[in-house]
Symmetry: C2
Subunit: 508 residues, 2 copies
Amino acid sequence: MRTVHQYDIFELSFTSSDEGPVTGEGIFSKNGKEYRVKGFKDGEGCRLRFMPCRTGIWNYTIRCGGREEAGSFRCTEAPAGIHGPVRTAGFHFRYDDGARYLPFGTTCYAWIHQPEETQEETLRSLSAAPFNKLRMCVFPKHMPYNYNEPENFPFLKKPDGTWDIHKPESRFWQNLERRIAELAERGIEADLILFHPYDRWGFAALSTEECLVYLDYCVARLGAYRNVWWSLANEYDLLPARTFADWEQFGRTLAETDPYHHLVSVHHCFLPCPKADWMTHCSMQTGHVKNALLWRGEYQLPVIIDECGYEGNIEFGWGNLSAFELVHRCWSAVCTGAYVTHGETFYREDDVLWWAKGGVLRGESAARIRFLKELLSGLSGELDPLPPPQWLPNPYERKPDSAEGADGISAALSRMSETERNRWFVELSPTRIGSPDYRLEYLGRACPAFYDLELPETGRYRLEIIDVWEMTRRVSPEEASGRMRVTLPAKEGIALLITRLSGEVLGQ
Amino acid sequence: MRTVHQYDIFELSFTSSDEGPVTGEGIFSKNGKEYRVKGFKDGEGCRLRFMPCRTGIWNYTIRCGGREEAGSFRCTEAPAGIHGPVRTAGFHFRYDDGARYLPFGTTCYAWIHQPEETQEETLRSLSAAPFNKLRMCVFPKHMPYNYNEPENFPFLKKPDGTWDIHKPESRFWQNLERRIAELAERGIEADLILFHPYDRWGFAALSTEECLVYLDYCVARLGAYRNVWWSLANEYDLLPARTFADWEQFGRTLAETDPYHHLVSVHHCFLPCPKADWMTHCSMQTGHVKNALLWRGEYQLPVIIDECGYEGNIEFGWGNLSAFELVHRCWSAVCTGAYVTHGETFYREDDVLWWAKGGVLRGESAARIRFLKELLSGLSGELDPLPPPQWLPNPYERKPDSAEGADGISAALSRMSETERNRWFVELSPTRIGSPDYRLEYLGRACPAFYDLELPETGRYRLEIIDVWEMTRRVSPEEASGRMRVTLPAKEGIALLITRLSGEVLGQ
């Protein structure tokens, strides 16, 4: 009996006279639970892939063109460090085996469309980097710094020069799945972008029917890779050929046909896609990362700011953030209970910019993101925002005798439209997460010389002053309780971490 | 015949049996044009003040309690450097004599309520500083760092302990007008804040009638000072005792009764006051200074961001900006065609923070503001924003073959509400002002390594790369024309100044 590791791929080859690109069906069962997967054409042959998520004996039946073949295999426990597909858990993520997953992604949109040696260089860079998710496109990319022609395309062409969506080009897909597997080996989720607007070849203008054929093929061929995420689009709202009904249909199709229920999102430029049942999390674009506070409330889903701008020095505003600014946005996002994705756009005469082509990481933010990621991994409790001191905070509340000003703020806010009030809520809310056992507040670009702390009197708490740029954690003091004024360095990029050592849990 | 300089004060004393606080009337005429001013009680006596804005012989009649007295005086030309009251001119300001006035104010809300030696120290600091406007309150201030009791109050008290608005306290007003005059000597406009919410004495809760008596007194007593501006309020929207109708009435009253038509504005916290006829300019509070682009359009008035946050290190978000951040906001405001006001809030054990009490300037932004002010003073042409490349800019427009993305942006924007679209307009607009003879673009926190310049082919232009923090202006190249790529230092706080030397005027 064949043996396969849990979360690895059990693959079969077969023949089919179907036109394709998807053909045949496999039914995999264990303990009465059935999974249906489709086969797919790969050149002249056909393959069928299944990822077992549970250990034990699996039975299967393959049906194709009236023929039927049955068999079974043994699924053995995953090797250490392999946790399976990522799932959502409330506003956060966990692997299939329950291990915590904190997404810290980066972006190489078109890395699989570059020459082999660049792809290999990208993998080497990723191996040494702190990132555990990669935003990457299936289709090639046409945009400044991205005018080179790719070697392979996902489909063959018809005699009239248009794409034959029913004829996948094996070399393209073999490379893509090899890269996905190589990412998996490095613990990196492949956040596969299925559509995007930066196109000169016609992939942004496929018909709805063609898109569905393509999606069907993606699910059949790539779904068995444990680290696949489905991102319906990069900047869905910039694709004029697509309607809302298309996105709705594509999302629903993935949710219904992907037997593994990989994560599904859709990324926007200007207009976030409204909440839909098939959406597992928010994949957002904004430089104003604190907006995640509103999105959490509106979507009731985990929020990833998948594009908050890039560390770099090119001519576009989204691509010339200082390293500090990107680090600042990462901390701001995390301390509102969201996650965030990195990218780099340093000008190169050879046009190999990390954000699109991969290659080599050149910036200073990645090291700081590693520091942040390791700090967060050590916290006991979820990364949920603490409520502001009041629903809308009042900076004067500590002085009851100045209530006139305070009442005035409430009155002014009550006269606003909800949209305006929400903007103030975001603006005035602290960036602060916590649990009963810790509290982490990021002070952003604020430069206070001190902080007035109010801890429970009946416990002991450790305070750390964190410099997000210098990557230092200074314990001061080792044990505290009650009210105290803490001296701060009065510079940008400071965070405070309070950890409960004993006694009363931390309040809000 | 008495002689008075243009823009100085012609003052008369008289007696009146009226209750006051305003009594008698003076009619001043020249060339058939009449100005009516009211007299006011000052202790036991009465005074009447008039500021002649034109040279020559002025005739006057003073009427009080049925008595009438006539006379005349000669007004001689203002000494060099005295330009009279500031007026608006489109989106900008000029003195009464036509000289250009670029407001670069600072903030010492409660400086006149501090001990004499602190007031003197504040004046010395102002003498050495680049500021030419001072935001200051008539009423004392109650707020963190401002709990000390002032020595003098503007009114005497009734036997029941409430303020007798009809009984001004001479010592208070004599000090106030002395300070206004001392500011005038230093070329500093006194932006007098008439009401504010930070109060424990009852000044924020006067009746509407009492407010009008107080305003009448202010106009009679202070209107003849050339450097007076009327700011109806600091944070008008945080005064629960006041209605919109009050502000409307106060503004109209000032516009109608002040014969000199000093500037009138009203400053907000959350909700900008809607445009009104009596409003001469916008006095705004925001950290998002580029919003001035929208306010210019909406109000069709000059915009001053009178509060954009303070350089400092206290606990409040508005009071712990880095010096760079404040300088950045100043440049951003100016390069959207607005003006901006400085302030400092450095923690002091003695509670003497510049923003409220004055004293000594400690920060690093003032020197940079001087640099900015001097640079702007040298530009030929008004400081008006240039339109964005298209109404809403498209970062991809230089590549016509990527029109798909570009069309998508237009389509996405067209689907937005006007409010949302306006926010994008602000977000995406460059901070860039210019005239036919110069163009000044501030690149903000963007860190591009180069800039692609498109100058007319048939002229010669000087390019300067400005470091707003280091206060350097590097000419590079001395003469340019046509298209060229300019190398930049790829750091935050860079501006580009293009000056026409000859030939075709600069386009947009």
